[in-house]
């Protein structure tokens, strides 16, 4: 077995040193009553080659974005990833290391994460960013818990245009913490209803996503002003990080904590994970942040170096008094995102966002021109809601057979939006792809 190096002689010699006869003797501390009643019934061990063939066959069933034109975003976005990024990420010094508990031999990870944190603060206009969280939903839930702890209030408001799955996760997290979750409805323009928020009281925080689930850009400033007037915490969220190439960043809109999803930043969709939770805040919230933080310091010789810091927030030091139970984060995904942001650079990031915007607007206009209803008139980024004509289900199936996935039906998430679809366009789709969709949809 190529992963188990011991030869029978190795085992024999080691047992002799230990002073027992068989390896099973080493398991004598396990009472008989605790032993397996039956062996594990697993498939017989596969060779590398059989495994490859098996995995190829499973993977072949999937409608990968490489073969299909997939007009779905909704929290997972198809962006080009430069070959240099997965190559660098595959370097075993990054991939096979553990959490950098020994900073002297982990400066690669540590500097990489310090740079990641910095890029995230610059992207979002925040003072501090963590070393990563699992994904947008879990980060957002933790952000709300931060606000609850900070304000000692037990009610939070969440825009109904936060990603529906994020809202589900929030409910899961808030319930046992005894936190009430109220939802802020949306307006006919496809925006979170600021007026509704104004009417709410005793809020620890409000969470608003921009671009929201409908792709509509929200005016976060208005929500910041409103919640701050109520002494609550303003939490901004997002699922499409590329939008910040064009949109005014949360920091400039008075947001206190930002919890968003970073999958767009060069991370493969991978059927939903691993992705990346981005969590950043103003300085005021720094010591409430959950998860790892990397900080700069100096070594014995005065040389710059990096360490995990502010561990007093964390479970391995504070146990039940920690700001969170998080231990492993999504470190390699954070490094992945940093490599991607470094590859794009500021100029490239902005240009890429612009290209995304151009393409989405092109499709929007073309569909409108073809008589499709564009449900919300507000400005959007990358995603928008349309109402397709009756009987579109058949068109959808026909397109699927042609390797086109024509958006996400919204009724499941918003029952009032029957016949509506959320469409997403990124730089990966060509004008030809967009024209084809318009043609087929209106055929």
């Amino acid at each position: 077995m190529r992963y188990l190096p011991h030869t029978p002689e190795d085992i024999h010699e080691m047992l002799k040193v230990i002073g027992v006869d068989t390896v099973d003797d080493l398991f004598h501390t396990i009472p008989d009553a605790c032993r397996n009643s039956t062996p594990m019934d697993l498939p017989p061990a596969m060779s590398e080659w059989d495994l490859n063939a098996h995995m190829d066959s499973l993977a072949a069933t999937m409608a990968s974005s490489n073969e299909y034109r997939v007009f779905i975003g909704a929290g997972s976005y198809n962006h080009h990833i430069p070959s240099s990024v997965p190559y660098l990420l595959s370097r075993s010094e990054f991939a096979t290391a553990y959490t950098p508990y020994q900073p002297e031999i982990s400066q690669g990870t540590l500097q990489g994460i310090y740079e990641f944190q910095t890029l995230v603060t610059r992207l979002l206009g925040m003072d501090v960013a963590t070393a990563s969280h699992y994904d947008g939903a879990t980060g957002l839930s933790e952000a709300l818990l931060m606000a609850v702890k900070k304000t000692k209030r037990k009610k939070v408001a969440v825009s109904v245009l936060c990603h529906p799955f994020h809202r589900e996760v929030i409910r899961t997290y808030m319930d046992p913490a005894g936190v009430e979750v109220v939802e802020v409805p949306y307006t006919p323009e496809g925006r979170t209803d600021l007026k509704a928020l104004e009417a709410m009281d005793d809020l620890a925080a409000v969470a608003v996503q921009s671009p929201n689930f409908f792709g509509v850009v929200e005016d976060l400033k208005g929500f910041s002003d409103t919640i701050h007037a109520k002494k609550g915490v303003m939490i901004g969220s997002f699922t499409e990080a590329i939008a910040w190439g064009l949109m005014k960043n949360p920091g400039r809109q008075g947001v206190d904590i930002v919890a968003g999803d970073g999958q767009s930043l060069g991370i493969p969709k991978a059927f939903g994970g691993p992705g990346l939770g981005l969590l950043a805040s103003t300085k005021a919230h720094m010591r409430q942040l959950p998860g790892r933080l990397v900080g700069a310091t100096t070594d014995l010789d005065g040389k710059r170096g990096f360490v995990l810091t502010l561990a007093a927030r964390e479970q391995h030091i504070r146990r039940e008094k920690a700001t969170s139970n998080i231990c492993s984060n999504n470190g390699l995904c954070a490094l992945n995102a940093a490599m991607y942001m470094a590859s794009l650079g500021g100029s490239g990031f902005r240009r890429l966002a612009q290209i995304n915007h151009n393409k989405a607007e092109y499709l929007k206009k073309a569909l409108a021109g073809a008589g499709v209803e564009i449900t919300f008139a507000s400005p959007t980024f990358n995603e928008f809601v349309v109402k397709f004509p009756k009987g579109f289900e058949a068109t959808y199936e026909r397109l699927l057979a042609k390797m086109v996935v024509a958006g996400l039906p919204l009724e499941r998430f918003y029952p009032e939006l029957q016949g509506h679809y959320l469409l997403c366009v990124t730089e990966t789709l060509s004008k030809t792809d967009l024209d084809q969709l318009v043609k087929e949809v209106t055929a």
Partner: protein, 474 residues
């Protein structure tokens, strides 16, 4: 070779990305909500590649050498599994594709759940949690939901004092106050202590077995019975599952719910701190409370089903860390039942071998047969003014990653060594000889240890200053 920070490099106008030509009209994004784009440095591809190549060389990974970090199970990560995870069909699949176009991924998840059930004798599994601690939270949420469904609000949770910090922290998220269960002279929990502490305000107990001393909780069945008798549930922390595959099924010894650390036990790269994956297995009692969506097989079609009214809900946006699942699934298929059992056998063999060969040199916290890890302390070296930290740092100079130190908390100055099954006898011998040499140095020239490490990129770092005046971005 040094390497500056990203923003100390580059020049405006460079780009390491192949920006596509835009084949449609430009549409400006204007108005109040328009921003200026992020202030990132602009770098060419060669600058990016050299930057991260250099950074990587300052890191120590499993491919670099032995990484005996206790309770982290740093075994070798097979390269072939990276191939599987990067297959286009997996890496490039959108999570919201129509189910008919995702059958391969769903089958993989379904089968992986089945494998985990087989491994543990549990009845149902969710793969959704993102990491071990997230799995713990999932499990505790289910315990909470279980009691709540019965109309009970319990407020306490038994947690042995050998437990990982995540255990009390996870409990706290559900409002449970941890109640410490002490370890006895044998390094395990006593039945009497549990009997005394368990009551009907207590939701249950969180047990890591083998525990973080590397010792099997021999009284686990009795303990489970006591907890169950008081209406509590038993949570199993699967961090140390690598010790007992094929030997013990958690579901058979009384555990009601447990999490796995897929990345540890099933050999996926730890990524410098993640992503991990923390599936949770439960018995029939808790099954209704599992997170949604669940993967089910309905007439040869795999489906994501959400229709479970008692479910605690979603734990993540989508279905968990699928990429990690692919690797773990591949690993299990490569090993088979016998291979996994052998892995545990060799892991335990290696730990006991180290324990035997080093117990005359270092103080052994509990001198008995251990499972996959053994815990020493610096008790003997203390007299020379040398601490566990010094020993750990000195190991770096010899090309080893240090063990886990100062944990578990019950052992003062702990050195917690988990060699795993993938180390060769030669490397283990080399590690042992090195530790013996270091013990000798501790006596004869302790300054070598105090000054260590000297061969790393940086020497010991000022962690106090880092925490006092945090500088978290540049």
């Amino acid at each position: 070779l040094n390497e500056p920070l990203l923003w100390e490099k580059g020049k405006k106008g460079r780009c390491g990305f192949s920006l596509p030509e835009c084949d449609v009209d430009e549409v400006s994004f204007e108005g109040d909500l328009a921003g200026d784009g992020p202030d990132f440095p602009d770098l060419s591809e060669v600058e990016v590649v050299r930057h991260y190549t250099r950074l990587s060389t300052w890191n120590f990974g499993v491919d670099t050498g032995m990484y005996p970090l206790g309770s982290c199970t740093m075994k070798y990560n097979p390269k072939v599994n990276e191939r599987q995870a990067s297959l286009t069909g997996f890496a490039d699949a959108h999570p919201l594709l129509p189910e008919v176009r995702t059958q391969g991924a769903l089958k993989l998840m379904y089968d992986l759940e089945h494998f985990l059930k087989e491994l543990t004798g549990m009845d149902a599994v969710t793969l959704q949690p993102a990491a071990g601690a997230h799995g713990e939270l999932t499990g505790i949420l289910m315990i909470y939901a279980y009691h709540k469904k019965k109309g009970q609000i319990r407020t306490k949770m038994l947690v042995p004092d050998t437990a990982h910090g995540t255990n009390p922290a996870s409990g706290a998220l559900c409002g449970y106050t941890p109640v410490a269960v002490p370890v006895n002279g044998e390094g395990i929990m006593r039945v009497e202590d549990v009997r005394e502490l368990m009551d009907e305000d207590t939701a249950g107990i969180m047990v890591t077995n083998p525990n973080t001393l590397g010792l099997f909780e021999e009284n686990i069945r009795e303990i489970c019975e006591i907890v169950h008798d008081k209406g509590g549930l038993v949570y199993g922390d699967g961090a140390n599952l690598n010790a007992i595959m094929g030997y013990v099924k958690m579901g058979e010894i009384g555990v009601d719910v447990m999490h796995f650390n897929l990345h540890k036990t099933f050999s996926t790269p730890h990524g410098g701190g993640g992503p991990g994956s923390g599936p949770v297995a439960v018995n029939k009692t808790l099954e209704p409370f599992l997170p949604v969506p669940r993967v089910e097989k309905i007439q040869d079609t795999y489906r994501l089903v959400t229709d479970y009214p008692d479910s605690i809900g979603r734990m993540m946006t989508f279905y968990g860390h699928f990429g990690v699942m692919v690797r773990a699934y591949s690993y299990i298929l490569s090993m088979g039942a016998e291979g996994l059992k052998e892995a545990s056998a060799h892991a335990v063999l290696n730990a006991n071998y180290i324990k035997e060969r080093l117990k005359d040199t270092f103080h052994l916290a509990f001198d008995k047969t251990c499972m996959h890890e053994c815990v020493f302390s610096d008790a003997r070296q203390e007299e020379d003014g040398v601490t566990t930290l010094d020993i750990a740092k000195r190991l770096i100079d010899y090309g080893f990653h240090p063990p886990t130190i100062y944990f578990p908390l019950v052992v003062h100055g702990a050195l917690m060594i988990e060699p795993t099954e993938t180390e060769t006898k030669e490397d283990i011998d080399n590690f042992i000889d090195t530790l013996k040499a270091i013990a000798k140095e501790a006596k004869e020239s302790p300054e070598l240890l105090k000054n260590a490490p000297t061969r790393s990129k940086v020497r010991r770092l000022d962690e106090t200053a880092a925490a006092r005046k945090p500088c978290l971005c540049g």
